[in-house]
Each structure stands twice: as C-alpha cells, then as structure tokens.
C-alpha cells in the first residue's frame, strides 16, 4: 500500500519539481520583491521594511486605461482567433481525410520560426512602404498608402496570427471527438444544418472553445512583443508597462507588484470562467 503510493508519487515528481523551480519559486520571488523598495541604482531593497505600497500604487485609477487597453486587445484577439480557428478546425476534422496529420503539421509550421522574427515580418508587410501597400498601390486599389502599422488593427492582427495554432488545436480535438452520427441524428430530428450546429455540435465542442479561448486570452494579455513592434511607442498595455519597469525604468518592486497582480487576476479569471461555463455547459 505504502509502496504503491510512493510509486504513484514518483510519477508526479518531475512535474512537481518543474512547477516548483520554474513557477512557484519565481512567483514567490516576485512576491517578495514586490514588497520591497527601489534603490537609487534600480535594484530592489528588502531590508528597509516590507510593505504593500507598490500594490496601492498599482491600483491607482491612472492605470485603468492601460488595463482596459490590454483587455480590449486580448478580447478582440480571442474572438477573432476563435472565429477563424473554428471553421479551420472543423474543416480539418470533417474533410481532412487522409491529410489530417499533414494539415495539423501545417497549422504548427509557424512555430519553426522565432516569434519575434514572425512579428517583424508583419511589420515589413504592414508598414507604409511595405508589401501590402505595395500590392494595393501597384494594382491601383489604393492611391496613397494605408496606415496599417502602429494601429490597434496591427496589434490584434499580429496577436491573432501568433495565437491561432493555440486555438486551432484544442478546437480540432473537441470537434474531432463529436460523433458524426450524432449530428446526423439531429438532422434526422428536424434540424437544419444551422440548428444541428447550434443545438448539438456547438454545445458538444464548448470545452474546446473554452480551452481555445483561455489559451489565446492568457498569452494575449501577457504579450508585450506584439504591442511593442506592431503597436508602436504610443500603444500601452499592462504587459508593456511591466516590461519597461523591469528593463528601462528599473523599478523592480513596482514591476513585480504589477506582474503579481496580473498573474493573480488571470488565475482568478480563468478559474471563475471555467466554473461558470462548466456549470452552464454541463449543467
């Protein structure tokens, strides 16, 4: 009995140690740093007394527009990603046939190139004298270059592009698991294709939709590369603020406090979303 327990525990050991070293411990460090103060050279000082002053500063209303901006980008990205991914995942599952594996590899192909390089590629495509404007002007569709770079549009586009594989894969898995005969049964029971989707396919793939949403929303809210490269200097998101507090403003304790709050908000948001949706979907 005891030995069985130990053996089961041994299976969890690698995962738990990983989480401890790379998640729990850094989180604890961030939390401790967030209670400290900034010294003259930008280092974090802990021996002058610990306080929640940084948290009070983080909750000041002046940060609200930044938070709202982050939420706006993440929400738009999530909605767009689901809207694009669902039909793709559906098509691969239902019509992919023997090429399913190949199509899924194609979905993941962008991962073979660095995230930052791919984002720079979008910059080349979107800038005033970029690829897209070049094509539009050469074909006479537009005369003057469209301003695409450094807009909300560019940020959401870049993020959606980047996180698409994260939403396609869970959606594919959940759609592929829906028995086609269940959809046929709905059709047989007087449902149009649209009704069969709404009453059968969609509810049955809701777990996939939730997973895809979380896997898009969470990295989108923490992403500082895309808003920085494609959104330009004037675009502020909470992730960008945290990044600059650590790297340029050198105010680690305040950055740590913001970072800790972001993680906390994400965890609470994720858990409560899952709770609500699970209660509603599974009922």
């Amino acid at each position: 009995m005891m030995r069985g327990r130990l053996r089961e525990g041994a299976l969890l050991f690698p995962g738990i140690s990983w989480l401890f070293v790379f998640f729990a411990a850094p989180l604890a460090i961030i939390f401790v740093v967030s209670l400290g103060q900034r010294d003259a050279y930008g280092g974090a000082v802990l021996d002058k007394g610990l306080s929640f002053a940084n948290y009070l500063r983080a909750l000041e209303p002046s940060f609200l527009p930044t938070v709202a901006n982050s939420l706006k980008y993440a929400t738009a990205t999530t909605l767009l990603a689901i809207g694009i991914s669902y039909p793709i995942a559906y098509w691969i599952s239902r019509h992919g046939g023997r090429r399913k594996g190949l199509l899924l590899i194609l979905v993941m192909l962008p991962f073979w190139t660095s995230w930052v390089i791919r984002t720079y590629a979008w910059m080349i495509i979107l800038r005033d004298n970029g690829v897209l404007n070049g094509v539009l002007q050469a074909t006479g569709i537009t005369h003057d270059p469209l301003i695409l770079l450094n807009t909300d549009f560019a940020v959401v586009l870049g993020m959606t592009y980047g996180f698409l594989p994260f939403s396609i894969l869970p959606l594919y898995v959940s759609i592929d698991r829906v028995d086609v005969s269940v959809v046929a049964a709905a059709r047989d029971l007087y449902s149009s294709p649209g009704q069969a989707f709404r009453h059968v396919t969609l509810p049955l793939t809701m777990p996939g939709v939730i997973a895809a949403s979380l896997l898009t929303f969470i990295p989108a809210i923490g992403d500082f590369v895309t808003p920085d490269i494609l959104g330009g200097a004037q675009t502020t998101t909470i992730a960008k603020v945290i990044q600059s507090l650590f790297l340029s403003a050198r105010d680690w304790p305040f950055g740590a406090a913001l970072g800790f709050l972001l993680i906390l908000a994400t965890v609470i948001g994720t858990v409560s979303t899952l709770r609500i949706l699970r209660a509603e979907v599974i009922g």
Binding site: D179, S181, V182, A184, A185, A186, R187, D188, L189, Y190, S191, S192, Q195, H199, V200, P203, L204, V281, I282
Partner: protein, 392 residues
C-alpha cells in the same frame, strides 16, 4: 402476390444508385415498401443495405435514382423535411442532454408546446418502458436502455416510416432476443412502417413481414421469410438464409416429379421434377432438416446411391458420420459421403443417434431439393421472388 397491392407504396425506390468514388455501394435498387409492414434489408456487411436506408432518410444523397415516400418524390429533400425518423446503429444519443431532452429533441425543433412535449415524451418513454429515467444522462444507461431511448426519440415524432439501422447489433444475444420481441410489439402498437437493416438472417426471419436480401449493392431476392427460406432463388440467398447444403452436379434424367443428378463427386442423388434437361449442370440446395439419416448395417452391399433406381420414393446417398454436435433441440451431423461430399444433417428425433464413423444412408424427398439459379453475376434479380428462375 405483388400485383395484389394497388395502393401507393409507403416508400418506393426507383433505380436508386450510390457511388462512393470507385465503389458502387448501391446499384439500381428498385423496391416498394408497403404501408404498415415490417420490412428488412438483409445482407452481409458492405452489401449496401445501410446506404440504401440512409438514402431513404436523406442522410446520403443518391448518385442517381429517386426515393418516393407516399408518392412524393423526396430525393432532393434534406433529412429534416422528410417524414421519417432513424434509429442509428450506435444509438447516436446526444451526450449533453438527458433522457427527456433526447426524446424531446425532435419535438422542440418542431416547436410543439411545452405541455404537448411533456405529454408525448412521457408516452414515448412509457411505450419503451423507461418511465422514470427522464433526468438520467445517456452515459449512465445500459446498452439496452440506450437503445430504447433511441427508439423513443425517433417514435415520438410520429414518423410515417421508422428506419432502423442494425439497432440491436451492439447488444448481447439474450438482450437482443428480448428486444426483438419488444420491437415487434411496438411496431404493432404504433402501426407504422418499419424498415430494418440487419446482417442477422435469424433476426430478419423472426421480425419481418418481407425481406430484401442484398448483395453487392443489388437486391438478390425479395419475399416473405417463408419464401426466402423455402424457395431461395440462388446459391447466395440459400447460403445466407439459414444453413443449407449446396450440391453441384449434372442432370442425368428427368421424369414427371423427380430427376436424377450426378454430383461432382460421382454419386447419384435425387432432385425435383423441375430441373434442367439431362446433361445440363445444376446446383441443388437441401436444408439439413430435410435430410433423413438411416442406419446401415456395416458393410452392406448396396448401391452407392438409390437415386438411380426409378421406383424408390426417396433416394439416398451413403456416407460416414464425420462429426456431431448436440444442439439441444436436435443433433447436427456432418456426413462425408462415399464420394467425399460433405453434407450437414439436422436430426430432431432423439431416436436417431449415430456415432462418429457410423455408416448411414442419406435420403430426402425429391421435391425438397431445390434447383438454384446460377450466381456467377451478383444481382440480376428482379424485385420478385421466382422459385424456378432457371433461364430458358
């Protein structure tokens, strides 16, 4: 007997054909299914029976040909507009809905009132004897219960025709027998036409008013269970419906009510009067229960077959018991004749007991040996059962 029905058939298939890439799944099927009958499509897997059923329900679009329901051409109608409902092979219950909501699904899509839905779902669950399980989730039901929910869900919509795709295929034998009885009861109670797909010939014989035996996308023979059993058109039907002995040979002589056939193994045996002319090849089918075994004193010096003697009422082959199996209702023997032909015999009289190696005489009435039509090409059968379809 086909001509007796002048009424519009419940379902009429005309030259119905379905091609899946290179595979011709259903090949110009013509069928008329009568109102209120229990009709079965019977055949081995891959014979096109399920595809035929799905085309009736609108779940598969025919390559060519038409489907009519009560005289209306529904070939181009989507499933939701057809007055038929289907019981699927693996039930296809909605896993996210409870039993009540599964059964209510079709009624809700048709916007019935709340009270009407409650009343009709209650009736349907009572009909399949599942009252009280309304709030159960399908994954917490047994296979038999799931099957009943699927049945209730289809019947509650009061379709003109109920299509059933191997509905009992996933259940064990005992439950299957029990549900067969119940299916028949339910069909009598609701009085609608059932079209039943199965590969189980025993199930088809038990349940059906009429059966269409299918092979390679075509109807081989259509008829009542008795007709198919007693007068199979060809080797395939004879072999598929029940157990049968098929003997290949050549006609030696034909007289008024009997013929003599020389088997490929060289022995003579009796055949029916309606046989091809002498010298023609012939296939005989003899049911195991039509053969009588007689004990022979060992080493008795008799003819290898009585078939050659024109006066004996029943003629006989002889051979040795090779194997026997006790079946409860009788004993099944496999006899190897002197010429080496294997023959299965079913003895229901307990007095006839033989041991392995015993020398026996096999006898049958000439009329119980059937002459089969050649089956070199699958199909070719008209939608009528002919007993002596030997071409002229």
């Amino acid at each position: 007997m086909e001509a007796a029905t002048n009424a519009v058939p419940e379902i009429r298939l005309r030259d119905l054909t379905k091609q899946f890439r290179e595979v011709l799944a259903v090949d110009h099927v013509n069928l008329e299914i009568r109102t209120g009958e229990f009709f079965s499509l019977l055949g081995p897997s891959g014979c096109g029976k399920t595809t035929t059923l799905r085309m009736m329900g609108g779940l598969e679009a025919p390559t060519s040909g038409t489907v009519e329901i009560r005289g209306n051409d529904v070939t181009r109608q989507p499933p939701e507009r057809r007055p038929v409902n289907t019981v699927f092979q693996n039930y296809a219950l909605f896993p996210h809905l409870n039993v009540f909501e599964n059964v209510a699904f079709g009624l809700r899509r048709r916007h019935e009132t709340k009270d009407e839905i409650r009343r009709r779902v209650g009736d349907a669950l009572a009909l399949v004897r599942l009252t009280g399980l309304d709030t159960r989730s399908p994954d917490r039901l047994s296979g038999g219960q799931q099957q009943r929910v699927a049945l209730a869900r289809a019947l509650v919509c009061q379709p003109m025709v109920l299509l059933l795709d191997e509905p009992l295929g996933a259940l064990d034998l005992k439950l299957r027998k029990q549900l067969q009885v119940e299916l028949k009861r339910i069909q009598r109670e609701v009085g609608i036409t059932f079209v039943y797909v199965t590969h189980d010939q025993e199930e088809a014989l038990t349940l059906s008013d009429r059966i269409a035996v299918m092979r390679a996308g075509q109807v081989e023979q259509l008829g009542s269970p008795e007709e198919l059993y007693d007068r199979p058109r060809n080797r395939f039907v004879a072999g598929f419906i029940g157990t049968t002995n098929i003997l290949d040979g050549e006609v030696v002589s034909v007289s008024q009510d009997r013929s003599v056939v020389r088997l490929g193994t060289g022995e003579l045996c009796p055949g029916p009067g309606r046989a091809p002319a002498a010298g023609q090849p012939v296939e005989l089918a003899i049911r195991p229960e039509a053969i009588e075994l007689r004990a022979m004193p060992g080493g008795a010096e008799r003819a290898s077959s009585l078939g050659g003697s024109p006066d004996g009422g029943a003629s006989a082959l002889r051979g040795n018991i090779e194997q026997s199996a006790y079946l409860g209702t009788g004993i099944s023997y496999i006899v190897r004749t002197v010429g080496g032909q294997l023959v299965t015999v079913l003895c229901t009289r307990p007095a006839d007991r033989f041991d392995t190696g015993d020398l026996v005489e096999l006898a049958w009435e000439p009329a119980s040996a059937l002459v089969l039509a050649p089956t070199d090409e699958p199909g070719q059968a008209a939608a009528q059962s002919k007993t002596d379809a030997q071409e002229a």
